[in-house]
Point group: C2
Chain length 421, copies 2
C-alpha cells in the first residue's frame, strides 16, 4: 500500500489504477454465476446476485468504504471527503445480469468505481468532496420489468410499492425476493443530494471498435418509441385459397418490416428501427397466418425524427392492413425523449481523457442506462469502452482489458476533477 | 321404407336422398366431441374418435352393410351387388377431425356414402357391382403425422410398421392407441381390387361459394413443395447498432416473404405461395433478430411451375442472406407432383351432376385428400361442395345443408353409373 509512502517535496503520489488487482477482482467476480460459455447468469435477486452483492460489500469494506443499503437494495459505498458536508460525487453502475449474459455489462462500472477508490487509497489522496460508489438494483429488467428499477425508485420515477409488487414469471415479487436474499435495507430509497454522477459502461454498439478508440464521452441517450402491432386476417388452407382472396397477416408484417427499414433510410441521420419480436398464429406450414403480433422499436437522438418515424409507420401499418384486408391494432407502449447529459460533466470526461492521454470520441448512447434517471436529479455523464463486435447481453460479450483499464483511468480523473468543492 | 312398394309397370322407383334422415344423422354425429363454438374435437384415435367409429358402425349395420375393419382401423361397409365377384365401387372419406375442427370436413363424405346406400335400400335397388363405404383412419395428421395414414398404408405408400410407430406429442404410438380404442382389425391393410373410388368433400377453398355453385367435379390435386428456411445473423442491441452494421434475420425473412408473393404473381397462372410458420430468436422488442426459422409452401397444378417457383425462391433466399450478411439453410422437405384424377371418373361426376340437374364446375384441389392415394391404385375422382368463406379446419367451418344434399345426390348418381358391370 502506497498509503504510507512518504511524500517527497511537493510531488504528490499520483493516484493510478492497479491493473492487476482490478483484473484479479474482475476474474473472481466473474466466477459468481459463471456459465460454461464464458458469461454469467446472475439475474436480479437470484442466489447468484446475492453472492455477487455479498462479495462486493466485502470488497467495499476492505477498501474502507462505509456501506449503506437502501429499501430497493441499492448498495452505496461512501468514502469520506475533506468536507464531509459537501454533496458527494457518485459513480457506479449495476451487477445484475441478463439470463446467461456477459461479464462486463454493468460490472466494470461498479468494480471500476471500487478501483478508483483503491487508487485514491493507494495514493493516500483524500478528495474534498465525499465519494460514493453505487450498485443499482435490477438494471437489466429481464426477471422483473421494468428495467432500471433501483435507480428509477431512487430518482422518483417509480413508487417503492410499485417496485415491490413487480412479479417474475413464477409470480414471486421483487419485494419478497429482495427480502429473501437479505437486501431490503433500512435506508429510504430516495435521492440524496448528489454533486454529479458518472457511469462507466460497455458501449453495446460497434462504434468504438470500428474507430479503434478505447473511450467515449457520452453526450446523451437516444429517445425511443416502442410499439405493439397486431394484424388479424383469416387462417385458410394454403392450398385451395387463391392469392387474391387471402387475408394474410404475415404478408402485411413483412410489408411493415420493409417500411421500417425504408423509414430509417429516409428520416433523419441517426434513426434506427427494429422489428424484434414476432409471433404468428396458427404458425403452421400449410395455413395462411391469421394473426401476427409484432413490435417496432425506433430510436434517434432527435425527438422530432422519432415522432416522424412513428407517424410514418402508423400510416404504413394502416396501408398494409388495407391492402391485405386485415383488422389491426397499433399501440405505442413506451415513448422516451432523447436525454442530453450535463455539458459540464461531458466536458469533465473529455478533459479526463486528455489528462490520461488516450484517444477518445464523443458518442450518443442508443441504449438506456441508470445514468438516464440520475441525469434527472443530478449533473450526469457516462464513459463508454468498446464492445467487441458490438455484442452485449450475451455470453460472448467482450471488452479488451486494456480498454477497461483506460476507461477506469478516465473515470478516476473525472471523479477527481469533480470532487473539488 | 319404399323397399316394399310395388313396382308399377316398367317405372323403377328412383333412389333418392332422404334429406331429413341424413340431416338427423349428421346432427347426431356432430354431438360426438362437440365443442362450445359449434365444431368437433375428435382427433385420430381419441375417445371421441372411438365413439364416432362405434356410431358409424352401428349405422352401417342398420343399413345392412357388412362391416370390415383392417389393421389400420380403416372401416369398410359392404353392400352386395348382383355380381358378387365384381370389383366394388368404393366411396367415402374420413371421420377424424382437427383439434377443435369443423363438423363437415371428411364426415359428409362418409355419412353421405351411407346415405347413398340408404337411398338404394329405400328404392330396393341392387347394383350390379358391390358397393363399399369407407372411413379412412388418421386423415388429418394433427395427432399422428403424416396425414392420410390409413389410406396411405392401404395404397402401399407407407409400411404398416411405420404407421404403428408414429407417436403423438405424449409419446403414445398410433399402434398402441389403435389397440386401446379397439380398432386394430384383423383384415390385412392392403389394397383389394377396386373398380373405382369417389370421395365427396368440402372444398376448403372459396371458389364454389364465390361462383354460387353447389358442386364441382374435381379433376385432380395440386402438386406442392414444402421448404424449411433458416437465417442466422447477429443478435445485437436495437439501440446502439446502426442500420448499416446489422445482420437482421427477420429483415431477410420479410424480403423473402415479399418475394414469395411476387413469384406467385409472375409464375404460371394458378401458383399459390405461403409463408405459414415463422419462429424468431431471441424474439425481444429491443434485440435485433439473430435467427429466424420459417417455411415456404408453393402449390400449382403444373409441376414445372412449382419447380420454377422453388428455384426462384432459392435464389431470393440466397440474395436476401447476402444483402443482410447472414448464414442460411434451405431444405425442400416435401415435393409432391400434381395428381390428375381419372378422366372417366371425372366424366362420371360431370354426367351425374347433369342427371341431378344442378349447376356445377370443374375444379382442381389445392389440398391433399385420401383420394390422392386411392388414385394411385384405382380410377378416382372427387366431388366438392362449397366451404363458406373458404374456411376449413376450424369450428366455424360451414356448408349449406342443401349443398351437402346436392353433392350427395351427385355421389349417388356417380356410384350408380359406375356400379354396372
Amino acid at each position: 500500500m502506497l498509503k504510507f509512502a512518504p511524500l517527497v517535496g511537493f510531488a504528490m503520489v499520483t493516484a493510478s489504477i492497479d491493473e492487476r488487482r482490478f483484473r484479479r477482482r474482475f476474474d473472481e467476480f466473474s466466477e459468481i454465476g459463471a456459465t460454461e460459455n464464458g458469461g454469467v447468469n446472475r439475474p436480479s435477486l437470484s442466489d447468484e446476485n446475492k453472492e455477487a452483492r455479498d462479495t462486493l460489500i466485502e470488497w467495499f469494506r476492505d477498501a474502507g468504504l462505509t456501506v449503506r443499503i437502501d429499501e430497493m437494495g441499492n448498495i452505496f459505498g461512501r468514502r469520506s471527503g475533506m468536507d464531509s458536508d459537501a454533496d458527494p460525487v457518485v459513480f457506479g453502475s449495476h451487477i445484475d445480469s441478463q439470463y446467461n449474459g456477459g461479464r462486463y455489462d454493468g460490472v466494470i462500472g461498479v468494480l471500476g468505481g471500487l478501483e478508483v477508490v483503491e487508487a485514491l487509497n493507494d495514493a493516500d489522496e483524500t478528495t474534498e468532496r465525499p465519494l460514493e460508489v453505487v450498485a443499482w438494483s435490477n438494471e437489466e429488467g429481464v426477471r422483473f420489468q421494468p428495467d432500471m428499477l433501483g435507480s428509477g425508485v431512487f430518482c422518483d420515477i417509480f413508487d417503492l410499492d410499485y417496485a415491490y409488487e413487480r412479479e417474475d414469471k413464477d409470480g414471486d415479487t421483487f419485494g419478497e425476493e429482495l427480502e429473501r436474499i437479505g437486501y431490503k435495507g433500512d435506508e429510504p430509497c430516495e435521492a440524496h443530494d448528489i454533486h454529479c454522477y458518472f457511469e462507466m459502461h460497455v458501449e453495446q454498439g460497434p462504434f468504438l471498435e470500428r474507430e479503434d478508440l478505447p473511450v467515449a464521452a457520452v453526450e446523451g441517450v437516444f429517445g425511443f418509441s416502442w410499439m405493439n402491432v397486431t394484424f388479424e386476417g383469416q387462417a385458410n388452407h394454403a392450398g385451395p385459397t387463391p392469392m387474391n382472396m387471402r387475408h394474410d397477416a404475415f404478408v402485411a408484417t413483412a410489408d411493415v418490416t420493409d417500411s421500417v427499414r425504408r423509414i430509417t433510410a429516409t428520416e433523419g441521420t441517426d434513426l434506427v428501427g427494429t422489428v424484434g419480436s414476432v409471433d404468428v398464429w396458427p404458425n403452421a406450414i400449410n395455413v395462411i397466418p391469421e394473426r401476427v403480433e409484432f413490435t417496432v422499436d425506433f430510436r434517434s437522438y432527435d425527438d422530432e425524427v422519432v415522432d416522424a418515424a412513428v407517424e410514418r409507420i402508423r400510416n404504413e401499418i394502416a396501408h398494409a392492413a388495407e391492402r391485405e384486408g386485415l383488422e389491426y391494432e397499433f399501440e405505442e407502449i413506451m415513448r422516451i425523449d432523447a436525454d442530453p447529459f450535463d455539458q459540464s460533466c461531458i466536458d469533465t470526461v473529455v478533459d479526463a481523457a486528455e489528462t490520461v492521454g488516450c484517444e477518445y470520441t464523443r458518442l450518443v448512447s442508443g441504449a438506456g442506462h441508470d445514468a438516464n434517471y440520475l441525469n434527472k436529479i443530478a449533473p450526469t455523464s457516462m464513459i463508454f469502452v468498446p464492445s467487441v463486435d458490438g455484442i452485449s447481453h450475451r455470453e460472448s460479450e467482450y471488452t479488451e482489458w486494456e480498454d477497461v483499464v483506460t476507461g477506469t483511468e478516465v473515470l478516476l480523473e473525472a471523479v477527481r476533477s469533480k470532487a473539488t468543492v
